[in-house]
């Protein structure tokens, strides 16, 4: 929790991006191409956020970068599966 409070501005930026992404899905339902673009943009923003955040705190390692990349990839696969099946 201390860690969260310390990095609050960083987290607020991340939450902002994620909330906008979820809202875009809600507002542009049934627009598959737009939703696909939003999903890719949010996933890239998430990995970029992780990279910048850890870089600023000087604890960016390859393992950390890969972890963000894999979480983003898993999220993208889930969203694409659902968009493809709607």
């Amino acid at each position: 929790m201390k860690n969260f409070a310390k990095h609050l501005p960083h987290y607020l930026a991340l939450f902002g991006v994620l909330i906008i992404g979820a809202l875009a899905f809600y507002l542009f339902s049934y627009d598959r191409s737009f939703q696909t673009a939003v999903a890719i943009a949010v996933a890239i923003a998430y990995v970029a956020w992780g990279t910048v955040h850890h870089s600023i705190h000087r604890d960016l390692h390859l393992a950390v970068f890969i972890e963000y990349l894999l979480v983003a990839a898993l999220g993208l696969v889930i969203i694409f599966s659902l968009i493809f099946r709607t």
Binding site: F4, G21, A39, H53, E67, L70, I78, R85
Partner: protein
């Protein structure tokens, strides 16, 4: 006891997993991702090589689609559309054509335009429009989806149209048992006052070049689904997605609490960031609904 140990290793941070639940390790995330891709591949290839068990259960009536469409029109001050049986026959024929030729588009693979069905059934249109929907479980969700799309909404709320015809066909489309709704809009030369000048023709609204009355064809029966519907591709994907994300969120919360209390320092991503991202994925999975419109 051994099973409990394995589960703890998988879901709980402890010494055996280097104080990070095994399911959160990169190797496990890769396995989970490929498992989800494999399931999608299975859903895609099953209809071709396996039993026809995929489909969408639906309860849609043409009358309900018309009622809901007119409800939307009346709400914005437009006159309700009149049901035209000829348009309904044409719409039904279009739906059957899609099932027979196995396509999901306004224009058939052989280049047949939707307007051909209007002409074939002898509907002398001045303006014509088409909305298509598939995989919806009820009429209300299909109409709501059309209303959420500007081009489809434009068709539904156009003052140029005076009549409507609905075709609801059930059958096998690309190996999946589904219900297609074809919504035809039209107005004839007889029931429209000439508009002068016509500045712009809206998309999917085409003035008839020279209406030709042909013998009314009868729609041929769509191919009968081979077996009973067992699995909805969308619902099963959604269920598996929600279970996966829910599991990861739960494990992340436990992992975050335990590592925070034990003051474990490790190299890895921020738990809050992963929770936020997966939370968004969960929200999106809940938002998305079955059904396609074009």
């Amino acid at each position: 006891m051994k099973l409990f140990g394995q589960l703890a290793h998988l879901f709980f941070p402890r010494e055996s997993n280097n104080h990070k639940a095994k399911i959160l390790h990169p190797s496990s995330l890769v396995i989970l991702t490929f498992a989800l891709i494999f399931y999608q591949a299975l859903l895609t290839f099953l209809p071709q090589y396996g039993p026809r068990v995929l489909g969408y259960a639906a309860n849609i009536s043409a009358d309900e689609v018309i009622r809901l469409t007119n409800e939307k029109r009346v709400a914005v001050g437009l006159a309700p559309l009149q049901l035209n049986p000829t348009l309904s026959q044409a719409a039904q024929a279009k739906g059957v054509d899609m099932l027979n030729k196995d396509y999901w588009a306004h224009t058939a693979p052989d280049g047949t335009q939707p307007w051909k069905f209007f002409i074939d059934f002898g509907y002398k249109y001045r303006y014509a429009g088409e909305n298509l929907a598939r995989d919806f479980s009820n009429a209300s969700s299909a109409v709501d989806a059309w209303m959420a799309s500007s081009s489809h909404k434009e068709n539904m709320l156009s003052s140029k149209y005076k009549e409507i015809g609905i075709g609801v066909v059930e059958g096998d489309l690309a190996g999946v048992d589904t219900t297609i709704i074809v919504q035809f809009f039209g107005s004839t030369y007889a029931d429209t006052v000439p508009i002068s000048p016509v500045a712009k023709v809206a998309p999917k609204v085409i003035p008839s070049p020279k209406p030709i009355v042909l013998a009314t064809p009868q729609p041929t029966a769509p191919p009968t689904p081979i077996s009973r519907v067992l699995i909805s591709p969308f619902n099963s994907t959604k269920g598996i997605s929600l279970a996966t994300v829910g599991l990861l969120l739960g494990v992340l919360v436990v992992d975050g609490v335990v590592t925070s209390r034990r003051r474990i320092v490790r190299i890895g991503g921020r738990t809050f960031a992963h929770l936020a991202f997966l939370g968004m994925i969960l929200a999106i999975a809940l938002i998305l609904k079955a059904g396609q419109i074009i």
